[in-house]
Symmetry: C2
């Protein structure tokens, strides 16, 4: 793990390329550093000037004094590499490279970036960028605007890591408008050195940060990202705004799983597995961060709504219903207590309508009383025409209750965008304030989701195949024969090796074998041609079901042999299978260029094909994640007891999905798997059709 | 139709109960009327004072001069009725009753409201309220704040009809914050006199209004509302914020349709049939109204995104994809033109990334060029650090293009909540401005939806039954026999009378009948007990399918006779049906206490029962609406060509759903219908099970 503490909180910074000329980026950064009150030493480097911004300038990096710990480089791209090296030689190991013209700008740039990466490795640099807008620290001990952003955020507890510079600055500006404080901002740029993962590792330990926000367009290292997130979300919520369109999706669109996986669905699944909260819009980002910036999460789900405006209470309750938050009726004791001080016209349901006359004491006592019976409160307070107290007194009462029960979130809704003294007082006390009731409800929903993500889930996965070398040998053999897929039997042996059950089957190579098999499983049986190079099997009549007696069997086998001949199939064998009946499921696996193996689950037949009702998970898949994936499909209720069929064993399906992930990780040459269908019989599920595709040798 | 022109734009207003005492509601209204600059005459009425607010006061209503056209009453509830009558006697026919204590407050209040309604009828009053906060007009010719709201809205083209006072005022305040102008605001209160429908009828003709917004908790007269909306949306968009929880839902939860219909789903269906745009949150309301206030809608769907901040462009394009708006690539000509003046680093895809250096000329020329190839534009403009021109010059360029192509909406996104001079200039030119790109995309989506709602659709419905008297006779006969349901045969005759096909069937009353039927339709057949009082038929073995030969038939008939005997069923007959195979559909009808007959459509079996994947429409249902309803279920793709089955004829299903609506309107004693299933065979659909429930006599 990289130690980034000096990078984010340096003692001295060399600003390479600073110039007094207007429009000079390095000059602007130097001014920003001075303006924000950076307390360390600043060393402008520019051979053309003696003094810049009232500071002595240095003619070159070599001319800098000893002990400078950080450098910002905003210079012509052609001199970046020697400057980075010169800094490295001088022991300046923290570097922020603002300059563009690297891998984002064609062939030469790609080469330049490669050389930059060599320098990062040679000197073991903590390098941000290139092609970035810099970094900002705003904590009680460090004020550093090492960027060309005009916005120096008010200090706060949110760390913000942004892949994009332009959107990063936009979001900083939005945060400023919204009154959200930021402890650290970094624009990663091209990530030639440090990535989001390095910053995550740093932030885990950073006491100035209680919540982490990332804007990403791609993941530098998804598996590393996941491991870090899984650990960090136990103490700090992670919110991710992920742009959907720039990520290359699951590549092989020709495959079944691939054709069903929108890149975005895989990102969704991946972030859920990470334990991160995905947001889709800037508004959602602000709503979530405003709720989570203190890091306090409610223990249970009960919410009470208090209002002095009936209609807004209804709007809030409606919004709760829409997102699935229960607004339970208050118990008799609580109602009695409320009735003892609220006017008789007040509504004592939930929402508690304290009517327009509610004053500071009503709000304070009402909130205190109601929170005895709830885990969180949405308080709607719009100062009415006539109020016995000042609005600020109402705010102060709410703040007092909030201090008494810091573990219960109180969200205030003012029904106005205006940034009044009431809003300022509440926010200063760490109470999230929203204009609209629906937004407060969305925020509460984020609280609940972050709380659920924090709960321990277990990291158990399906066991690895006990005899992995044998599995590897099957694959190796097929590759050696230059085959692009496995036979049914090969696939079945691998699946069974990983604990994924397969129906009973045998090859009808001779009469005795067929006879023995039928004697074992009984009629009816299925006969099909097993030939990896055979497509459109149903259309060709290569699958015959419901074979009920020896005569039909003989007939079927003859028909299949004719098909083999007519199609000129080599390596084809005829396979007999038992007939299974039950619910049809689909399992699949495909490799995503960014995430690696992605497993898929769906309910077979119409649901998958017409409705694309499938869910994904990125391997490795824990048993808990597998179970969540299975429950994520819309048709999940169909797996329960239904029309006399017994419920499907979800735990077992979860094991199988997790096992499919293990298989994919253990056998990297397997590029695609389709188990369509797996039939869930009352005795358990079993794969009936197996397609295993290999790397085209 | 009521003439409301004097009500909304009076010459003279008597303010009954006005008092100089602080906290006097009528006094506040009088002050509001003066403050806003009402130009007509004001007559405070109060026996205790000579002058109020510098105006001569009148001791009683009788003492008022001749010719006063309007009155506002905010007096003790016990004297409201005589005051209303006194005004009526004096010919003051426009009255706004602020006073509460009517039907919302128990038995006495209900009686009081009834008497108030008699007065409305006796004097033919235009009466708003009671229990309301009043009315506001803000047009070039009339400025009237006849309410106790502090907010006198800036004039504009939105008319706002609110059932709730408290939420009405809240929304007015939000509109003020958002810079939305309002021409008329009225709080309907208890609707003892005027309802939303009266105001809709008025607004249709009102030239000051280009878009209508309603906040409703229930509908005074849904059918009237619908007729008005259907007509008005051809020229003025109607936006409805409907609170979901206060409406009583479809009553009979025990019934099939009833148990599936959430009240909210029916409201959704109803508003869609009306052609209204439903919004669910205050934010959505503002987004929609900001887009629609000018009433200009784009002709086609092509949208171009221009930006000087790449990340924000991606966010906008992502948001378009989420709501289903296509962001097409620009054609070569347009790209070429853009390339001729934009810098080489600019991205000429869609979004067009004009990069941070884009100045006023780039924005103006870029927008003009791009709009040649598009029907609407989202322009993202965040003033960068260094800009050759002032931000206002950029705004002026956008305004110029907007004037050249007024029919193409331009939505500007500033990435900031700040109300800058740029925002003011754009809004003044009628250009909707949003902070966030996602909100601009939501707004564009409202444009598209409003445009689609405006398109002519045809009002054709399924024809009425040619022999309606015969249908009525069947129902009357059953009611006379005190039956709560119809037999299969009775139901089938009514369905067929309305053009809804039924499978072939016959009663197995004797051997010959059975024989003849089987000879006609062929084996296999179905036999079942037809007894309206028989429940749990499947469990009791009262349905036998797949009867394949005479022996099985004899056996089945005997079994069913045994069930009839064992259950002690009277009036039971044994029914034979042909065996149909195809896709199972469900049609249903139930009566909603507010909307009347509601029809339902779903795909049979698992989809309806486990997934509640059903859609509703309120009768009458036009053929177009019926077709939309059928397409609204998630599983709709299953009705297409699928796994070798031919596509189901959607037009025919639409006819049947529309016919079910006609049936329900024509036969009001039919309270519930379940056609579960209707089987869609390759030869067309036919009802196989028929349940028709009647009003419990």
């Amino acid at each position: 793990m990289k130690n980034l503490s000096t990078l984010v909180s340096p003692q001295s910074i060399a600003v390479i390329g600073a110039s007094p000329r207007p429009g000079s980026v390095a000059g602007e950064i130097l001014r920003n550093l001075k303006r924000c009150g950076f307390s360390g030493d600043l060393y402008p480097v520019n051979p053309k000037h003696d003094r810049i911004e009232d500071l002595p300038a240095f003619a070159s990096i070599d001319a800098l004094p000893e002990g400078v710990d950080s450098a910002i480089l905003a210079i012509n791209r052609d001199i970046v590499l020697p400057a980075v090296a010169a800094c490295g030689e001088r022991g300046i190991l923290n570097q922020i490279v603002i300059t563009a013209g690297f891998k984002e700008s064609g062939k030469e740039g790609i080469q330049r970036e490669r050389e930059l990466q060599s320098l990062v490795e040679r000197y073991d640099l903590n390098l941000v960028g290139p092609n970035c807008m810099g970094m900002i620290t705003s904590t009680p001990t460090t004020r550093m605007n090492a960027s060309f952003s005009r916005w120096f955020p008010q200090g706060g507890q949110i760390a913000f890591v942004s892949q994009s510079g332009s959107l990063g600055e936009t979001l900083l500006e939005c945060f400023e408008d919204a009154g959200l404080g930021v402890s650290l901002f970094v624009n990663l740029g091209n990530r030639a050195g440090l990535t989001e993962n390095d910053f995550l590792a740093h932030l885990e330990q950073d006491e100035n940060c209680r919540a982490i926000f990332l804007y990403l367009e791609s993941f530098a290292d998804p598996q590393g990202f996941r491991e870090l997130c899984e650990r960090i979300v136990k103490t700090k919520p992670i919110v991710v705004l992920k742009a959907g369109r720039t990520e290359a999706g699951v590549a092989a669109v020709a495959s079944h799983t691939g054709s069903l996986a929108s890149p975005d669905a895989v990102v969704d699944a991946f972030l859920a597995q990470c334990g991160a909260l995905r947001v889709n819009t800037i508004e959602e980002t602000i709503t979530a961060l405003r709720a989570l910036e203190r890091g306090v999460l409610p223990q249970h789900d009960r919410v009470v709504i208090l209002t002095n405006a009936g209609g807004a209470g209804i709007i809030a309750a409606d919004a709760c219903e829409r997102v699935g938050i229960d607004v339970p009726a208050l118990d008799e004791t609580t109602r009695g207590e409320l009735a003892s001080f609220l006017p008789p016209e007040a509504g004592l349901g939930n929402p508690v309508d304290m009517i327009a006359t509610a004053g500071a004491a009503d709000y304070e006592n009402g909130l205190r009383t109601a929170l005895h019976a709830a885990d969180a409160a949405i308080v709607i307070f719009r100062p009415p025409l006539v109020l016995p107290d000042t609005p600020e007194e109402v705010a102060d009462g709410i703040v007092r209750v909030s201090r008494e029960v810091p573990e219960k979130p109180i969200l205030v809704c003012t029904l106005s965008d205006q940034e009044t003294e009431v809003v300022r007082r509440l926010r200063a006390a760490g109470i999230p304030v929203y204009a609209m009731p629906e937004t407060a409800v969305d925020a509460l929903h984020f609280f609940h989701r972050a709380r659920d993500l924090r709960a321990p889930k277990g990291a158990d996965r399906a066991p690895k195949a006990p005899d992995l070398p044998a599995m590897r040998k099957i694959v190796a053999q097929a590759l050696e024969e230059r085959r692009s897929g496995l036979t049914f039997d090969e696939g079945a042996r691998i699946l069974e090796g990983f604990g994924i059950p397969v129906c009973r089957y045998a090859y009808a190579d001779d009469e005795k074998k067929s006879h023995d098999f039928v004697a074992e499983v009984g009629y009816p049986v299925v006969a099909k041609i097993d030939a990896p190079d055979l497509h459109h099997r149903f259309e060709l009549g290569a699958v015959i079901t419901g074979i009920a007696n020896p005569a039909e069997l003989a007939d079927a086998l003859q028909k299949l042999r004719d098909v083999v001949k007519a199609q000129g199939l080599t390596r084809a064998r005829i396979l007999l299978q038992e007939t299974l009946s039950g619910r049809e499921l689909i399992f699949g696996m495909d490799r995503d260029p960014s995430f690696g193996p992605v497993v898929m689950f769906g309910i077979g037949g119409t649901f998958v094909e017409a409705l694309k009702d499938v869910a994904f998970a990125v391997a490795p898949v824990t048993l808990h994640q597998a179970s969540s994936t299975i429950q994520a499909i819309r048709a999940f209720p169909l797996l329960g007891e239904f029309r006399g069929e017994t419920a499907v064993d979800i735990d077992q399906l979860g094991h199988m999905l997790s096992a499919l992930g293990e298989l994919s990780l253990a056998l990297p040459e397997v590029v695609e798997i389709d188990l369509n269908p797996i039939i869930a019989t009352p005795d358990g599920p079993a794969a009936v059709d197996i397609l295993v595709a290999l790397h085209a040798g």
